[in-house]
Amino acid sequence: MKILNKKLFIATMFTSLLLLGMGCKKQLDINYSPNNPDYDLGNPRIVLPTAILATISKVGGDLSILGGIWSEYFTESTVASQYRNYAQYNVKSPDLNAVYTRMFADGLKNYQYVISKSAEEGDWNYYLMATVMKAYTTEVLVDLYDEIPYSEALQGQANLYPKFDDGHTIYVSLLDSIDVALSKDFNASTNTDPGNADLIFGGDMSQWIAFANTLKLKMYLRMINKYPEDAEKGIKDLYNSGATFLTTNAAVTNFTDQDSKRNPMYEQNIQQLNTPDNLRASTTFVSWLKANGDPRIVSFFGKEDITSVNQGDDNSNSEGASTAAVFVEKFDDPVVFISAAESYFMQAEANLRYNVGTPAKETYDEGVMAAFNDLGLDATSFIASGGRYEFPSGGSMDDKMEAIITQKWASCAYGCHGIEAFFEKNRTDFPKTSPVYSTNPNYIPGQIVVSASTVLPPGQLPKRLQFPYVVIQSNPNAPALVPITTPVWWSK
């Protein structure tokens, strides 16, 4: 140790410290999680499915239950209480926060990630898929909440208080974004085949183009009450461009009977909930099916000879209420975004209004056939001359609209699609609202009734959702709460 004199020792020490200092930065630059891939490692193929799962988790989950109750296919059981607040229209700001949260954070943010990444890579297949799904998901939120952040949304820390945009402006932006996506080159060599990462069409881009067009048609139709000229121009342009429309369901169908891989409504309402029989047949829907001898009653409720609960009649003592049929669900039920039937019914409406495309009767008939076909049934006799669902060719515009929208209403009971029927009711006022409750002898089967246990002022129905608590609480730009009875911008 003698050779280690003091000076040498100190010199060595300072040299080591210096080296330590230089090595420091590298030594300390280790805060990259080994548990999660880095943000930049993502690609459209792995992120798009996440976003689609987010959309179906709510459209095919909570909203399917809420929409099904508000469209009066089913209602809360008289011996259970899980969804009693839905049946009472007692849905407030703190409820259903997850709908908004999951669709924005898990859905829209990831669609936007795919849009940006695929634009960088020139992968227009993914660009179109993400654009259409982002538009679809955004549209559902606009239709529920009337206005939401759009132009300033999804910016993370860069804008934690995004301002709210009005629904119509958002619609216009979405339609533009779809047009941009449709204008891309789908034969470019930079495109990749999505294959099974496309949970909806397995990579068939012609179907996506049809989906995009059908979605545009749907959005223009939504505008007819407040912006009839825009709607007319948009729809006519669409037809003039030779647009193709959906002839199959745009839906997610690849569910398997394993935890976390089942249909979302089935998973949450049947598999995971301790009481699987909350949702019981509503007299509104059942009376209509029975009045028409519609075989779909077996598909939806298990058998023909069933009892039902009058809508929202919590404490019903009426006969059969406690043993009313449970709404049939299966682990592999699809979650439909736009069904083929819906596509046909929209084309029928477009023809009716603007005389474009195929005559309304033909597309109406195809719509009813497609709706029955979803359930493995044949509607031929129903649409035939004299059949229960024959198109009222000689009737008034209103009669024809009622026929189309009522059939659309019935078709939306399939595929976890109830929320769409709720929107269409608010847009068209079909099915009509009954002046009397369904226990009244004068009740007309199939007419929407006001829930017996409503908490709203007499005669009123819900028209929207209130801004969620998570938003009110954290965003100073959130507008004041609006009652759920206030119609959204496109309502009739």
């Binding site: 140790m1 003091k6 080994p34 992120v47 908004y100 949970l199 954290s474 965003n475």
Partner: protein
């Protein structure tokens, strides 16, 4: 007490030996013997013996904690018997401060509390801190469960709400020790934490440093204070063999008080298959009970069974053995020890079981100016922990099963759990499991191997200057296995499908499960330290500078299966479904530079200044530096004014200010992707899906502007001795602000994210600590001394700028633990009845049950739930008395903690099933909620009109009154109560055999002791349920909510033997 001192060579050295004893004649182990004016010295061994090489005309200075130091001039003898007088004053006490430095206590400007080996291991504890509970003012120390379970230590209150722990830093021989809690999977099992498995017999002393000023040199890790542990070392001289052993018997402690008037049934009806005591009044008449099997049924009297739950428990047996061999020569000393704990707790079977082997080898060597000290420790541990808490779908908590057995059904009988009346098919109720079934068929077991140790190399260039490298490591590998046997009641049996029980209720199939968890923890810590000492006339300067490298690694792999195919085969292959596997790794690294200077003036005034700068990997890379200074001042007033002979014989004033900066947890600075896991209302959708792996952008915005949590603390205090040191007082005031709490703050999901990790807000802890040491009687043969300590901490959340004003930390049913701005970090909330303007309870016009308050309280963040109060104690105190008569020593320690409320899941279940003592209100006859009204309509102004409630709670709904889902408004009153307690921690009696007796077996020191631990517990009348210390919610803030059906704590009795050869 060990001093790391390099012996220096001088001419004319000679070796002397001796023995250090106290004035009671007992040897003083680990006394320091130092040649005055040099760094030469040694420590005495376990028996007070020492030997030392000294120059010819040296003076020895002999010091030990708790004794007056003594100077001995070396004459021509070679053997010295040195007797030290016990001291109450702190003048020359030695304390271990940051980085393992030994300081004269008078130099230290902050509060310290030190315990020596005899205090730590007086009654054969299996954990180092067991005997310190209640003995340190300002330290909340508790053991949370049975043998081997976690120890909780909170010094001067909770400062960290989120983003880190509130546990102190444990330091062994200057090296930080990891304090991991492996296997704490879901809070239902507790396999202990890092400190709880160190062998207490290996410890020479423990010093508690509560304040930031004291610990700032340790940086980030020590933001919550530090516990400095010094291990035993070998000493020069002949080979010594020490043995200590104990046998310990335990019985179950506090159990809930049950009602004994009503028996099996529900809704006032006798129902064989009900898991509650809501049946008819007990009448002692012989009745059939339980299931009907093969047309036969058991019969017993319909009367309450005394000690029904207590009889379930057995006597626990714990045996400890410790053997230490030590010795050494002038240049090399060693200490080897082996310790063994075999403990089987009070639950029948080996469900609460600990088998622990501790090995240690420590060496101290010096050659000239160079010295090297080492410490190698290996712990092998196998433990079974009881599954507490709520039964999951794949198995249940034992205590939960016990609590829901009606008071008239004999629990002990169920021991024959395969008997046809008590088996899975026919257990009396389909709503719960036979408590013995889980004991025999399910389990949670952990095996762990842990190595920790250090290498300490030092070179003493001159008497004034030295350099030191200290490398430490702590590595643990633990393997945890949880298994649950599958079972399904047979169709057509009492509990099976198509059940024969009178309620037609079948029991859910238990699919069984296996979970295998592997965890690795590795910590390495290296310090390079330069020290310089200089005496200049009246001044004395100690300077130290150092660099530190710290790395912490965690690697966890977990795999589980459900739906076991072959019963009894607990292997991951045994399922039709694929195993679910997860992994989690993390690494944190810190580099630090630090310095400290102590300037002393005439042994009366000491000024210490320190600085440290840390660079942490968990902070944003471009802004990862944390700088923090500290300073303290100590003034020995009595030296300045020469007060030694006054009434006040010693007076020291001290003040300190310190800052520490704590880095965030890893991986919160960069954005990542997470596998798709989209929650539904119930259940989820997850990746992979449709054969594709799905990832999305994480919903948490990781923050590249994250800053450290800064803790700033000021403390001031005084140490005073009176009347010839017969009375000593140590008083401290402190004020601590923890600023920049790291929280995930909820953000508007329209931003695309749900939360942002952010620094926000301040928590303040301020309080006083007082300790008093009195020796009322002191004669040659008899001495009585007592110490009393008192602490009061006020905790307050000052602000949480930008975050929620009352973040939720934990909830159980509707009871919540929240940190609330303006209140404490641990406030308990629960539903409360709606009140009329005149303060009466508003009940439902239909049912007569109270309505739940929905009116937001604008003065309390619009909460509709009631604030029951803070979960934190108002104040704590402890008293310990020691009586010594000749060779007998008797001591007893009391621990009193007052104030605060807690939630009890035990109370919840007992109220639900009607076993609780309070469920006989009004003799279970119909009653109208006292002082209640009904809203009858509205007046002209739209204001509600209330009329007197006349609706009684009917007899068959009586139970609903106690059920939190049926009567949430009032049920929590029986579940949330005062957490105060007074506990007799220990009573120890020991006897040291006279040497003429012990020498007959070749021993030079033989002592025997008997003791009792935790034997008396007093709680306020509102708590007749649980020992408030027991919790299964962990050892941090969340644990303050209370307990959820956790195992009761134990009372222990035992005897111990110590012998030295």
């Amino acid at each position: 007490m060990l001093m790391v001192i390099a012996a220096q060579s001088f001419a004319q050295q000679r070796t002397i030996s001796g023995k250090v004893t106290g004035n009671d004649g007992n040897p003083i182990p680990f006394a320091t013997i130092q040649v005055q004016g040099t760094n030469t010295g040694t420590t005495s061994d376990e028996n007070g013996n020492f030997s030392l090489s000294v120059p010819g005309n040296a003076t020895l200075v002999v010091r030990s904690i708790g004794y007056e130091p003594q100077e001995i001039a070396i004459g021509s003898q070679s053997s010295y018997n040195i007797q030290l007088a016990s001291s109450t004053k702190s003048l020359n006490e030695l304390v271990v401060t940051a980085l393992g430095r030994t300081e004269n206590k008078s130099k230290v400007g902050y509060s310290t509390t030190t315990f020596d080996a005899s205090q730590i291991s007086a009654n054969a504890p299996i954990s180092v801190l067991d005997n310190l509970a209640g003995q340190v003012a300002g330290a909340d120390i508790s053991t949370l469960g049975g043998p081997g379970s976690s120890t909780k230590v909170v010094l001067r209150g909770y400062g960290v709400i989120s983003g880190g722990s509130n546990q102190p830093l444990y330091v062994i021989d200057g090296v930080p020790l990891a304090d991991n809690r492996p296997g704490a999977i879901d809070g239902n099992v507790d396999f202990g934490n890092g400190i709880s498995n160190i062998n207490p017999n290996d410890i020479a002393s423990v010093t508690v440093l509560k304040g930031t000023a004291a610990t700032a040199l340790y940086g980030s890790s020590a933001r919550n204070g530090a516990i400095m542990i010094t291990t035993k070392r070998g000493s020069e001289g002949k080979l010594k063999i020490e043995y200590s052993g104990s046998a310990n018997f335990s019985r179950v402690g506090r159990l809930p008080k049950l009602q004994n008037q009503f028996g099996n049934g529900w809704g006032d009806e006798f129902i064989l298959s009900e898991n509650g005591s809501w049946g008819p009044r007990l009448d002692g008449v012989m009745r059939p009970w339980g299931s009907i099997v093969d047309n036969s049924q058991l019969v017993k009297p319909y009367s309450a069974i005394d000690n029904n739950i207590r009889n379930f428990y057995t006597t626990g047996v714990e045996v400890t053995n410790n053997l230490a061999i030590s010795g050494g020569s002038e240049h090399n000393r060693f200490y080897f020890s082996y310790g063994n704990v075999s403990s089987n707790g009070v639950i029948p079977t080996k469900t609460d079981y600990l088998q622990r082997n501790n090995f240690s080898l420590r060496t101290n060597s010096n050659y000239g100016k160079f010295s090297i000290n080492t410490s190698f420790n290996y712990i092998n541990r196998k433990m079974n922990a009881p599954n507490t808490g709520q039964a999951s779908s794949s198995g249940g908590g034992v205590f939960e099963s016990l609590l829901q057995i009606p008071v008239d059904i004999p629990i002990e009988d169920f021991q024959l759990y395969q008997n046809k009346f008590f088996n899975v098919d026919n257990y009396f109720t389909p709503y719960a499991e036979n408590p013995y079934y889980g004991l025999y068929e399910n389990g949670d077991q952990q095996s762990s191997d842990r190595f920790f140790g250090n290498l300490d190399l030092k070179y003493q260039f001159t008497n004034e200057f030295s350099a030191q490298i200290r490398m430490g490591g702590d590595f643990e590998n633990s393997r945890t296995l949880s298994w649950n046997q599958p079972n399904a009641p047979q169709p057509g049996s009492w509990n099976g499908p198509n059940p024969t029980n009178p309620e037609g209720q079948s029991r859910k199939v238990d699919p069984g499960s296996v979970e295998k968890l592997s965890q690795y923890y590795g910590t390495i810590n290296t310090d390079f330290i330069l020290q310089y000492t200089k005496a200049l006339n009246d001044f004395n300067l100690d300077v130290m500078a150092g660099a530190n490298y710290y790395q912490n690694t965690y690697d966890r792999t977990d795999a589980s299966i459900t739906n076991l195919v072959i019963p009894g085969f607990f292997n991951l292959s045994n399922s039709e479904q694929p195993p679910v596997a997860t992994e989690n790794k993390s690494r944190r690294r810190r580099i630090g530079l630090y310095g400290q200077a102590v300037l002393g003036y005439k042994d009366q005034l000491y000024l210490t200044g320190n600085v440290r700068n840390d660079w942490s990997s968990t902070l944003p890379i471009d802004n990862n530096s944390i700088f923090y200074p500290g300073a303290s001042l100590s003034w020995v007033v009595s030296n300045t004014f020469g007060m030694t002979n006054n009434t006040v014989s010693y007076l020291k004033l001290r003040a300190a200010y310190g800052i520490t900066g704590a880095d965030p947890d890893p991986y919160q600075t960069y954005s990542v992707l997470t596998p798709a896991d989209i929650s539904l209302g119930f259940g989820s959708l997850t990746s992979p899906f449709n054969g594709v792996s799905a990832f999305g952008v994480s919903n948490t915005i990781n923050n590249n502007k994250l800053k450290p949590i800064m803790t700033r603390e000021f403390e001031a205090g005084a140490e005073i001795s009176f009347l010839g040191d017969r009375i000593g007082i140590d008083a401290t005031y402190y004020h601590k602000i923890s600023d920049g709490q790291i929280f995930p703050v909820s953000v508007d999901p329209s931003s695309g994210y749900t939360s942002l990790v952010e620094n926000l807000g301040k928590v303040r802890n301020q309080g006083v600590e007082l300790s008093l040491h009195v020796v009322p009687v002191k004669t040659n043969n008899f001495e009585w001394s007592f110490t009393y300590n008192f602490a009061k901490n006020q905790n307050k959340v000052i602000n949480l700028n930008g975050g929620l004003p009352n973040p939720l930390l934990l909830s159980v049913y509707d009871a919540e633990l929240r940190a609330v701005v303006g209140k404490t970090v641990a406030e308990i909330y629960a539903p409360t009845p709606q009140l009329s303007p005149s303060g009466q309870i508003v009940v439902s016009a239909e049912t007569g049950f109270p309505l739940v308050n929905q009116t937001p309280d604008t003065s309390d963040n619009n909460m509709t739930k009631r604030r029951y109060g803070s979960a934190l104690y108002d104040y704590t105190m402890g008293i310990s008395n020691t009586f010594r008569y000749k060779n007998f020593t008797l001591d007893a320690a009391l621990d009193f903690r007052y104030g605060g409320v807690m939630y009890s899941g035990t109370a919840d279940l007992l109220n639900f099933v009607g076993n609780a003592y309070n469920t006989t209100y009004n003799d279970r006859r119909p009653f109208i909620i006292p002082n209640s009204v009904i809203e009858s309509g509205v007046d002209g102004n739209g204001k509600p009109v209330y009329v007197e409630n006349t609706i009684p709670i009917p007899v068959d709904d009586y139970y609903d009154y106690y059920y939190m889902t049926k009567n949430p408004a009032m049920a929590y009153d029986a579940r949330i109560f005062d957490r105060s307690f007074l506990k007799l921690r220990s009573v120890n009696l020991s006897y040291t055999l006279p040497e003429q007796w012990s020498s007959k077996i070749g021993s030079n020191n033989l002592s025997i002791g008997i003791y009792a631990k935790n034997i008396l517990l007093w709680t306020p009348a509102s708590n007749y349920m649980v020992d408030p210390e027991a919790t299964n919610e962990g050892n941090d803030i969340e644990g303050e909510l209370g307990e959820f059906r956790t195992s009761p704590l134990e009372e222990q009795f035992g005897f111990s033997l110590r012998a030295t050869f």
